[in-house]
Symmetry: C2
Subunit: 139 residues, 2 copies
């Protein structure tokens, strides 16, 4: 059922003052920082149309994750019962893709300044998408 393997080439990288996982808040809304998205020149054409004030979803590759983890204690609390990783936002999961909703503060060529973003410096960017206004409000 899972015969195919796909490859991801990151489109860019995050530049942030956050350099250690231990400093990173669990979610952007819990004290995320400003950060720069830097897109590689070969993908820069894909940014055309992004402007200040846009709400974006940034997909990252959480490159320091444990990919063989299937159950975790939510938010690292050992007293909490184990849960399947797909019912949590743990960064440890088979395909460690991070989902970050941010607002665009500045566009400077192939660099975009955004907030709030909790990912650490050097985190690879996999994709950038606009938030759709008609999407349901829970996310």
């Amino acid at each position: 059922m899972t015969d195919n393997i796909y490859t991801i080439e990151p489109i860019g990288k995050i530049h942030s003052i956050l350099t250690e996982l231990a400093e990173a808040p669990m979610q952007g809304t819990e004290g995320g920082f400003e950060a720069w998205l830097e897109v590689a020149p070969k993908f820069a054409q894909g940014l055309f149309g992004i402007k200040v004030g846009d709400d974006l979803i940034v997909l990252t590759w959480l490159h320091r994750s444990q990919r063989d983890t299937l159950q975790v204690h939510p938010r690292g609390r050992q007293e909490a019962p184990l849960r399947g990783v797909f019912s949590t936002r743990s960064q440890d999961r088979p395909n460690p893709i991070g989902l970050h909703q941010v607002t665009v503060l500045e566009v400077a060529g192939q660099k975009i300044r955004v907030a709030p973003l909790e990912a650490i410096d050097g985190t690879p960017i996999v994709d950038i998408k606009p938030v759709l206004k008609h999407e349901r409000p829970q996310f």
Copy 2:
């Protein structure tokens, strides 16, 4: 800047009555269907804790996409000016990851019935995450 290549092994597949891209609505909220998420046995432990009524984000691999596309006419309208794919939800993009917000209707072992979901039958599932209630409302 984008030296590293990462590999994705899908965790499962979508089973849907939608079999052709031409039938698929642009977004789930535009007439998405019920579908089953089937997770491979080796990843099934990761589902523990998912229950009926949960709002989930399903990440898929849009395996029929054009990965070398960087600009598109939004929603396929040739009269609309070209836009960078990162400012659109086009399925054609360098790393074609689909984002689908669904509600759980039924949990049956390693299969989960959800709606609304516009992905076609056989679409690989990359990840499943819960929607966080405190996330900002725009998405």
